[in-house]
């Protein structure tokens, strides 16, 4: 009898111990996962060291992290800023002063001519004047918002939500090519551009265009003496012109090629629509 009572008591103790100490898949585990995800971007300490910031920005987890959100969107307020300057300004805000991308400056005649004018005025007045491209600093509300979020170590989903809420509230404006076909801000493209510039500034290799871009439609027209290849892309939900340029050229800065080739149907870079068939010229 006593042995039975002792055995039952021991069983009860073991059972209670199991209930209390068993491995759990309930809500307690979630914050740990969430916290792990939240440190994939630059930490505040790292901001003080540009090289360290670069390393954090360019780790593989971060590069794979941005996922495009295709939730229903809003009318995004746009401005005339470029992705190159926006990304450079964000990096400057993180303590990584990248030199202006010479290729981008060469590609942008307005920027190049403006730099010439400022240089000429500076030679006469004795004041050194630079464009944002020559002296990057975060100035726009979007840049300041992203810099702050990255300094806090926020993850990409958080930044995407933050940016889109700010755009909904009208407190930020964004480059035209960040506006998606469903009226959201494509933070995926912005964050990837920042990473690309940080990679290049750190001496890394610039991203290249994929050999077989996703969603490409190729038509070959055979003529008497030659055959001509044409590429098309049908806009999907969540696409932005910047994302399409990255998909085909590996460089958001080349969105102008697509825009110029589709001016007859594309009124502005922020006006692409789902189902729209775009001609994709060769780079």
């Amino acid at each position: 009898m006593i042995r039975s009572v002792v055995a039952l008591f021991a069983f009860a103790v073991v059972l209670c111990g199991y209930i209390v100490l068993r491995p759990s898949d309930n809500g307690r585990a979630m914050p740990v996962v969430s916290n792990d995800a939240a440190v994939t971007r630059a930490q505040t300490d790292a901001i003080l060291a540009p090289v360290a910031a670069t390393a954090i920005l360019t780790n593989s987890a971060v590069i794979q992290a941005p996922q495009r959100n295709t939730a229903p969107g809003i009318n995004v307020p746009v401005d005339n800023s470029t992705m190159v300057s926006t990304a450079a300004n964000v990096l400057a805000g993180l303590g990584l002063n990248v030199d202006p991308n010479p290729d981008a400056v060469e590609d942008d005649p307005m920027r190049r001519m403006t730099a010439g004018v400022l240089s000429g005025i500076g030679a006469v007045t004795g004041n050194t004047v630079t464009t944002a491209s020559q002296d990057p600093t975060p100035t726009s509300a979007l840049e300041l918002l992203v810099v702050q979020a990255l300094k806090e170590g926020q993850n990409d989903d958080y930044i995407d939500t933050l940016v889109n809420e700010a755009a909904t509230a009208g407190t930020i404006t964004v480059p035209e090519i960040l506006v998606t076909s469903d009226g959201r801000v494509d933070t995926h493209v912005l964050l990837t551009s920042i990473i690309a510039q940080a990679t290049i500034a750190a001496g890394g290799v610039a991203p290249t265009a994929p050999e077989r871009p996703e969603g490409v439609e190729v038509r070959i027209v055979q003529r008497a003496t030659e055959s001509q290849q044409y590429r098309f892309y049908t806009v999907r939900s969540g696409d932005s012109l910047g994302a399409i340029a990255m998909n085909f050229y590996g460089d958001v800065g080349k969105y102008n090629l697509i825009f110029a080739a589709n001016r007859s149907t594309l009124s502005s870079p922020n006006n692409i629509r789902v189902g729209q068939r775009l001609t994709i010229p060769d780079a």
Partner: protein
Amino acid sequence: MLSHKISGALAISIGLSTSVIAQATDDALNVGFSVGGVKQSFEQSETVDTAQVASHFRTRTSCNGPCLAPLSVASNVPTIGEREVISFVATQVAIGKGLLIDSRNINDRGTGFISTSVNIPSALLQSDNPFLNDILQAMGAREFQGALNFTDALPLVVFDDGPSTLDAPDLITTLLNLGYPADKISYYRGGMLVWTALGLNTQDAKS
């Protein structure tokens, strides 16, 4: 051949220290000055390079009507001549307190320009230039609470190829629309055509 002699005390030399040293000659113009440590001068030749003059005469298919510049671009914007341009450069541009603006496009400027001038085609002052404010601020405008204040904007003299072109009137109109004060702008209507026809020296694009 055209020749022109300006007598009297137009010959002025100005250094960056703002001290003025006048050197008068009886029959020739020779105005020396220094900008950014570089000595320059305006001189008037006894002869005129007619080919150079002709290179500044052009009619533009882009003109809306005949390419004849108005005598006055806008009220409160004075139209000035060569003496006023030379005086402006020697007294204001030389000390960084004024800008002589060449409003032609970069190709036209390649035919030669007035020394110390800064090339600002009107295409750069359009709203589609994301760096428009950078240029205006370099010209002395100050940004305050998102708006530009032109109180400290530099005085300007704007020129182009001459009376047969409208680059300068277009640029002046653009500046006025942007809020640049009319009383800080002067229009040199003679432009490169009259400047070279008077035998005044120019600077080569390669120099």
